[in-house]
């Protein structure tokens, strides 16, 4: 267990800024906030890989880079395996004395939900099964935002995207999202957590635990996207908080098999509060979709209850 780790904000704010300002991510994008919190929380050197996506194209427009740490992008589906290759090199080069035995490096991969839930799932699974000591972070904005808001396995039911548009007969995406965090936890790795940057203390704690884990760790971080979710760019953290307060996005962790729900809202808000704050769900408030709204609420309730039971039983 790694639950003795504490966050010292006073100390953390003095840590170096590893993602430099001046990158080209959109105003209101939650990704840089999440990345900075995670990299602030990790002590010592880090090496980062990033999947093709918003974060990658917006931070490394040649000949510029926002990364003040060693960084690599190779392709879309394989940020996990690329960083695992670097970790394998680290082990081998330590063995031959080419890098000092006492040099500690934390290996972190960032991928979007498309890169994680969909195209890269096999690669992540392989990295976890082989036990590479890396942190895989899914920056989850619930669609392929970099290519212009297409549905992914993380897109929630009812969301309008450009490939699951709301139309005369379809209410946006017709399928439920994939339970990625549970799939990650089912690999029986030391540490898996679901987090959100609005609760920075919680996210940074989880990043620290992931770094301290004795094996692979996965963080699934909700990163609201003003462009894709259709809300004003100053509302990002409020939207993220609503996701937790409605239990649409529970903040929890599975630490060596033990499930801990890190945030239980005093008053669980109806999921409609979360949905109506975003233009991508606007069509769900037509009278014709009242039944679907109920189904979405029932699904949120069911998942929340299962999570609480899982916590109680673990």
């Amino acid at each position: 267990m790694t639950d003795r780790i504490r966050i010292n904000l006073r100390q953390i704010v003095n840590n170096e800024e590893r993602l430099a300002p001046g990158h080209r991510l959109c105003a209101g994008c939650a990704e840089p906030a999440a990345v900075r919190q995670i990299l602030h929380a990790i002590e010592g050197p880090v090496v980062v890989s990033t999947a093709t996506g918003c974060l990658e194209v917006s931070t490394t427009v040649y000949p510029y880079t926002s990364w003040r740490v060693p960084w690599i992008h190779s392709a879309f589906e394989n940020a996990s395996t690329t960083i695992a290759g670097a970790e394998a090199a680290y082990k081998a080069l330590k063995r031959t004395g080419k890098i000092p035995e006492d040099r500690q490096i934390t290996f972190v991969a960032f991928g979007g939900d498309g890169a994680s839930y969909d195209i890269g799932l096999q690669w992540i699974s392989g990295v976890l099964e082989r036990g590479h000591k890396v942190i895989y972070v899914c920056l989850n904005n619930e669609a392929y935002m970099n290519t212009g808001i297409q549905r992914s396995g993380a897109t929630p039911r009812g969301a309008h995207t450009t490939t699951s548009p709301a139309g005369e007969v379809l209410p946006g995406k017709t399928q439920w999202r994939k339970p990625f965090t549970r799939i990650m936890a089912a690999h029986d790795i030391p540490y898996v957590a679901q987090a959100s940057p609005h609760n920075y203390r919680d996210l940074m704690m989880k990043a620290k635990k992931a770094a301290a884990a004795d094996g692979p760790a996965v963080l699934n971080v909700l990163v609201p996207c003003p462009r894709g979710w259709r809300y004003e760019s100053d509302q990002t953290m409020a939207i993220a908080k609503l996701a937790a307060d409605t239990c649409y996005w529970p903040l929890y962790e599975v630490d060596h098999g033990k499930t801990i729900v890190n945030y239980k809202p005093r008053e669980k808000l109806p999921v409609a509060e979360w949905l109506k704050a975003q233009g991508r769900f606007r069509h769900l408030f037509r009278p014709a979709y009242a039944g679907l709204l109920q189904e979405i609420q029932a699904k949120v309730d069911e998942e929340w209850e299962r999570l609480l039971k899982e916590e109680a039983n673990s």
Binding site: N78, G85, A89, R130
Partner: protein
Amino acid sequence: MVTSKYMPLDGANAVSQAMRQIDPDVVAAYPITPQTAVVQNFSQFVADGIVHTEFVAVESEHAAMSACVGASAAGARVMTATSANGLALMWEMLYIASGMRLPIVMTVVNRALSSPLNIHCDHSDSMGARDSGWLQLYAETGQEAYDNTIQAIRIAEHPDLLLPVMSCQDGFITGHGVERVGILPDEAVREFVGQYKAKYSLLDVDNPVTMGAWDFTDYYFEHKRQQTEAMNNAMPIVRAVSEEYERLSGRPQPIVDCFGMDDAEYAVVVLSSTAGTSRAVARQLRAQGWKVGVVKPRVFRPFPAQEIVEAIKGCKAVAVLDRAISFGALYGSGPLFTDTTSALYNLGVTGLPIVNYIYGLGGRDTLPSMIESVYRDLRQVAESGDRGAPVRYLGLRE
């Protein structure tokens, strides 16, 4: 020169012996017939602690090349191995490895590509990757596969090159065929390959670098120009490493191996194991007074245009044998043919009658009698002055 120790080895085993002696930092690989023996043997070396390598037994070939890219970018000496569909699955990463100038060495045990599914030898896998920015060496024997693999390390890592290298041999024919293979002393190989010191490394945390950045319309073209410049300048590096290895091993390492070409009127240009069959036939025909020869490029990328043209330009007729089809190319010819004819034209040789034979697809046997028929055809072409069908098929039922 050092003395080789001779062992009975199949080509796959010969390559794993080379890998044992090279002792790379990282090997990431996935099993596929007929490459499997390479990975199996190497895993045993890891299990027995004979090598210091970090072996990453990945879940797919795409992951194999992805891990190789990450490891090579982290400054490690990296190797892998594959065949056929495995190479096809790596496709995306082949270009990324070469575009990032990562000196990864991969042994390819050539096998037909699906569909239909076939596990036997042809060159459609690596020939499809000929434009991916990797150097390609083709081995006639297990011995050459061993020798090429060791040289590939030095070629790839040469500071003026920094490009990945494929070391290819024929699946089953040499891959599973046991022959007498001369193995250099471990120490000699260790010294020959030396230590790899990457110019940039992800693990150099005090000097952070960004690798694989996003190139707009304003830089991508220049980066590709640099890459092609590196490949264009690769041949002298390949030659220098080959000559050094030749001095070490005592085994000739020509860029293009020529047999009987001093006076040959009819020549066969062919890669890999069928060069051996062709040479045996040529030897017999020469004993009967025919002036025939065999031209075997050991290096296919970069293409040894000068060497091939020099060898064949005085012939009366030439046959290029391809173990792959470039579908939709002129007459449905093969890549060795299109490159050879392009080289002839560009080097000012015109009027040389030249025909293409597609042979051995999916492991179809190529018998000495077939090669003999090629030479007879060439005489017919030269004597009649009529080239006839530009692309023909050997050993095919029609």
